[in-house]
């Protein structure tokens, strides 16, 4: 069964179309990385799947159920979304933020049940934030904050996890930690869809990589196979140097580099 199925989706901003007749199927349990230049519609695609934006026309199926026919609460129990960056105007504690992930299961004025606390504690454990559960969000580093946001998404207990450039603002250490965590999740049968800034990151970790440009899908490739440099040229407009990862054997990409002979 497909976790997500986009069928003839049309969408744009301010009457200007961006995605036209967009089709994409995402298999349950896979980790799909989405790459492409700025303005390609990667984040828009994610927001359409998360029901933050609604398509002009076409259908988005989640486990064979139409997104339009599900309530917001039901959708929030199927799909979790991690935004690019979060700011906190007020002094929230880590635990409070993670508990917000239980909102689709909570009723007004009813205190969180033991089941909710169990989900919150497990999510904090898995992301390694449990040791600072009582700290304020504004006391944390960017990497720690991003893990808390992922913990919130996990507390939602959804089958699908969407991430919009979740690692872009992080240093190498925190980036690797989060990618490891996502790998662990995807091996536990969670369907992960992440917009990835860095091609090498996508090819090192994802199980499938989708190339997008100007609102359309250029191609989907298996990161364990060969990559045609024409695909990179068509999508990003640069000619990369392609080599293979010395450990995983997967393709990796290098910038052309300045030409030493001309001294530039």
């Amino acid at each position: 069964m497909n976790a997500v199925d986009l069928q003839e989706v049309f969408f744009g901003y301010h009457q200007k179309p961006l995605l036209c007749d967009f089709r994409l199927s995402i298999t349950a349990g896979e980790w799909l990385g989405i790459v492409g230049p700025n303005g390609a519609g990667k984040s828009t695609l994610l927001k359409l799947i998360a029901n933050i934006l609604q398509p002009w026309s076409g259908n988005i199926m989640i486990f064979d159920r139409n997104l339009k026919e599900l309530s917001r609460r039901e959708i929030a129990r199927l799909i979790a979304y991690v935004p690019q960056e979060s700011h906190f105007a007020f002094e929230w504690k880590v635990e409070d933020i993670v508990m917000m992930g239980r909102h689709p299961y909570l009723r007004p004025f009813v205190r969180p049940a033991p089941l909710d606390w169990k989900a919150v504690n497990e999510a904090m454990e898995l992301t390694g934030v449990i040791s600072y559960r009582y700290k304020g969000m504004n006391e944390l580093s960017a990497g720690e904050r991003q893990r808390v946001i992922i913990a919130r998404a996990l507390a939602q207990e959804t089958d699908i996890l969407l991430l919009d450039e979740a690692t872009s603002h992080l240093d190498l250490y925190h980036r690797t930690e989060i990618l490891r965590l996502l790998h662990k999740l995807s091996s536990r049968k969670k369907t992960v869809v992440s917009v990835v800034h860095d091609l090498n990151e996508a090819f090192s970790y994802c199980s499938r990589v989708a190339f997008m440009k100007a609102g359309s899908l250029v191609s989907c490739v298996n990161p364990e196979g060969m990559v045609d440099s024409g695909l990179i040229i068509r999508t990003f407009g640069i000619t990369p140097v392609i080599a293979h990862h010395p450990v995983t054997g997967r393709p990796q990409f290098f910038l052309p580099g300045a030409d030493r002979t001309t001294g530039q």
Binding site: K47, A50, N51, I52, S71, R72, R73, E74, I75, A76, R77, I79, A80, Y81, P83, S86, H87, F88, A89, F90, E91, W92, K93, D96, I97, M100, G101, H103, P104, L106, P108, F109, Q156
Partner: protein
């Protein structure tokens, strides 16, 4: 409940109860047991209005700060207060008589302002927080300047109008006015109840709209409704008391210092503290200047230093 929360609540209720006692027991004429009936007749309603006005301003201020993710927002951003002031000054300038004239014209003015704000902000999905705030500010400027113009043209009414517009709890009680007041009170309580009922939604929207959507909340609708409910409720209060400044801005901060940012605690906490502080301000005004001093003079004198302290702290 944690110890800190319990102590916080004790403090808040202490402020409110002591304020209420002072409000009934002090004032021009002191307090005599023999005339308890007439004291209660004049001072109890005044106390009740003080509690509702202070509570509502603080609670709405708190909700608005939440949905706008900005701790420096206050109920005047809605633009509704200036509409009420417009209604009042129109009534004063034209010299209309009758116990219902002032509240009815103020409520009409407030409704007019709400209508203008929504007209300007547009409707449907385009109604974003920024557009609502901008429209509120513009409507505020518009009505303020019209009020100024009217008062300058009828200079002899200036004093009375300013007194009415800048906050006082003295309402003319007649049977008709009483029932109108009770009606407004019921709407106000329902509005506050609605905001309180949506505490968790406000918590999540105070992070960002996308997160709210992805957690199953229609953030756009929630923001629109908070704005509308806040406008109606503040409009009804301001229609009776005039625009009392700083309560809606400063009180939520004080309560967040006690309780943290959770709306299920901060909203009721703000109501209690706002009510208590406004009663204290009213007690001060009545005992220091029995002839009449706008409440905003006192609330601002206390509020400004606290606000400066907050600004310094946030840097």
């Amino acid at each position: 409940m944690r110890v800190k929360t319990v102590i916080g609540w004790l403090f808040l209720w202490g402020v409110l109860v002591s304020g209420a006692l002072l409000s009934v027991l002090t004032g021009p004429g002191g307090f005599h047991l023999s005339e308890i009936g007439s004291f209660l007749y004049f001072r109890l309603p005044r106390m009740a209005i003080g509690i509702i006005a202070g509570g509502v301003l603080a609670l709405v201020g708190c909700s608005l700060q939440g949905i706008m993710r900005n701790p420096l927002v206050d109920p005047w951003t809605l633009g509704v207060a200036s509409g009420a002031a417009f209604g009042v000054s129109l009534a004063v300038v034209t010299g209309a008589q009758g116990s219902l004239v002032l509240p009815v014209s103020a409520i009409t003015g407030a409704a007019l302002a709400i209508g203008f704000v929504y007209l300007l902000a547009g409707s449907g999905i385009n109604l974003t927080v920024t557009r609502l705030v901008l429209s509120g500010v513009i409507v505020n400027f518009f009505f303020s300047s019209v009020v100024m113009l009217m008062l300058i043209l009828r200079r002899h009414t200036l004093g009375e109008a300013v007194y009415l517009m800048m906050g006082n709890l003295g309402v003319v009680y007649t049977a008709k006015a009483f029932w109108l007041l009770v009606g407004c009170g019921i709407v106000v309580v329902l509005g506050c109840g609605w905001l309180f009922f949506h505490s968790r939604e406000l918590d999540i929207i105070s992070l960002n709209e996308e997160t709210a959507f992805s957690l199953g909340i229609d953030a756009a609708k929630m923001i629109r409704m908070t704005f509308l409910v806040g406008s109606v409720v503040v409009g009804l209060v301001v229609a009776w008391t005039g625009a009392i400044s700083f309560v809606g801005l400063v009180v939520p901060h004080m309560v967040r210092m006690l309780f943290g940012p959770r709306h299920s605690l901060v909203l009721p906490g703000s109501f209690v503290l706002g009510a208590g502080l406004l009663l204290y301000a009213d007690v001060l005004v009545r005992n220091l200047a029995p002839s009449g001093l706008p409440l905003s003079v006192v609330t601002a004198l206390v509020g400004v230093p606290f606000f400066i302290y907050l600004l310094r702290k946030s840097q």
